[in-house]
Symmetry: C4
Subunit: 206 residues, 4 copies
């Protein structure tokens, strides 16, 4: 983190934090009613909201972790970085909407359309992570002078899986939308993996 | 606070700040109506919203204080810390929903179910505080080299009361849901106590 | 700003920023309708929302400026500071609700009740500013060693006007609620005044 | 960024981040219905929401970039700066409302009124950028001692286009509201341009 990128990170953190917290607005308290199904039953019926909430929460969390990770290697900012970062945040901001959509339609007509929008948002974000990272790391343009080449290449390698991964989840939705959501959760966990490398680098520094 | 944990804290602060402020959206202005009960009476009828708001506000506030407190001792981050912190924030993010639920159902059928969800959220968060703190402090793994052992043990000791405390509040809800909410308020105050220790440590440093 | 108070300020800034931005949710776009009054007319009818929005925005802004100002003099934190600051933030968080209430009821039955709640929230916050500041500045307990005595006393002096000022606005609401809102705006401007002193102090430092 | 302006920037960043993320609340998931038009068709009908969302997102993003840019040159704060910055943030906070309005009315009676409000908000903000910048940069009053005169003049020059630009978009709305929204997008891109200058200045510093 340098001064030049510090405020980009602060603003991005703000957007990530607000977007991840707004997700809960998609889970509604069922209105009080004296009709027969108990509150417990009515809450249980809302399981698509919980599944969509957890999936999107974990996905945005991992995106934030990755944003943090790539900015530990970036030392300078330029117009392209600002622009691509802005488009990436636009994608993140859309997630509460696409989450509301999949939560509402899971198990109803239109659930495939909802899954296309949901995974489409993630594909858009995955493309922007690749473009942002390429624009910053190609020829080491915006990287810190002490950036670890191995860690940089590992990020490049793992980001390659974003677009095909979310495209697979999108295709999968045509077979089974619920299973596709679970695949989204697994994808988020895959993108969480390479952290240990930056940790190793930190412990090497001793 | 070190550079390595600074952005985790900044992001967590953002989530805490948004979640604690979203609580107010659960308090609705009663719609204008020319019917007989005056606005004052209709506002008074909303007391469950106010009780739930204050209880959740104070609870999230104390959680934030404790988050702040444990991160004053943590000097490094690793994958587990990031993951457990993320799950902890997931719990915090759910609080505006569980608060809306208890506010809506207090005094109606389903209030016990609502209290189970409300305290269940707090039990989930209490478990994660213990797991996060254990993962960071066991064998001093992620602690700062100058971390005060006495203060570390006091945190460990006080966190032990989280799960049984909120479980008691949950049980209590089967007798009286309102009294259980008041117990939640008292629990928050209990977890606020051990601050004076870190203060003492600071004054010792002179 | 010291390390000890930095995270309190960061969290408080987050709450202030979210609360001040949530105010806009009280201004609703009128639903599309082909009925006779034009959109311009229907928007003009919403003037109580705009007046309440601007008044609350300016008031929270000035509260933030004052929060900022008193924390430039505070060098250490203790339990009381954390607690009073938390209660102060609770009051700030309530403002979007009390604003929605006054906007909804201005010009209808219940507008006096709404004005009592609106000003009551501000009186609560004004009390807490006094208590927080007294707890920090009495005998210079938590102040920085280089705190400017004259500036400290000026803050103490100006804060004295908070409770009587908002109480006057509350009383005034029994005569005319709209005029009372305008008085709230004027009060916010009064509390904005003493900044020039801290500026002078800064220029003296050269 | 100096200590004196750091907390103004942090608070402003918070407001920008919340406002830009709240924009998504204007995009609603269509309610589940078994009636004939498919979800895809109903989503496509919501295109005004998407156009308004993207336009406002990009506009707030560029405003944030410009806010960031001018504060890299500002070294001190005074009352006027705080006040003008506060009014500027008030304008930014209104954008989610004006965006909801244009999204709701595009293609319906009242769309011209909505476009007047939408562009009126931007004109208000553009005026405040000019006033804020003039108050800070006239005679170099609040600028850092090492501020680059060329960069300062370029900012002054580009800000001159704000009021006429958004006024043109407002006029244009009387011919075609959709085209006027697209003009708003183009304006945002125009105001994004002069970044390369501050970059050049940074690279000169080597």
């Amino acid at each position: 983190m340098t001064n030049e990128t510090a405020r980009i990170e602060a603003f991005s953190d703000g957007v990530f934090a607000v977007a991840i917290t707004l997700l809960v607005l998609d889970i509604k308290a069922p209105p009080v009613s004296s009709a027969s199904p108990s509150l417990a039953v009515r809450l249980a019926h809302q399981w698509p909201s919980y599944l969509a909430f957890v999936t999107s929460f974990v996905t945005i969390l991992i995106m934030w972790v990755n944003h943090h990770r790539i900015f530990t290697h970036i030392g300078r900012a330029n117009d392209h970085l600002l622009f691509f970062n802005g488009m990436l945040l636009l994608g993140v901001t859309v997630v509460p909407f696409s989450t509301a959509l999949i939560a509402e339609y899971l198990g109803h007509d239109g659930q495939r359309t909802a899954a296309v929008v949901y995974n489409g948002t993630f594909i858009f974000i995955a493309i922007l992570y690749n473009v942002l990272w390429h624009s910053a790391s190609a020829k080491g343009k915006l990287l810190r002078q002490d950036a670890d080449h191995h860690a940089v290449q590992l990020i490049t390698g793992s980001f390659r899986w974003g677009v095909p991964g979310y495209s697979a989840a999108l295709m999968f939705a045509f077979l089974n939308v619920t299973a596709s959501l679970v695949l989204n959760l697994l994808l988020a966990m895959f993108f969480a993996l390479p952290t240990h490398l930056s940790r190793r680098r930190n412990s090497n520094a001793h």
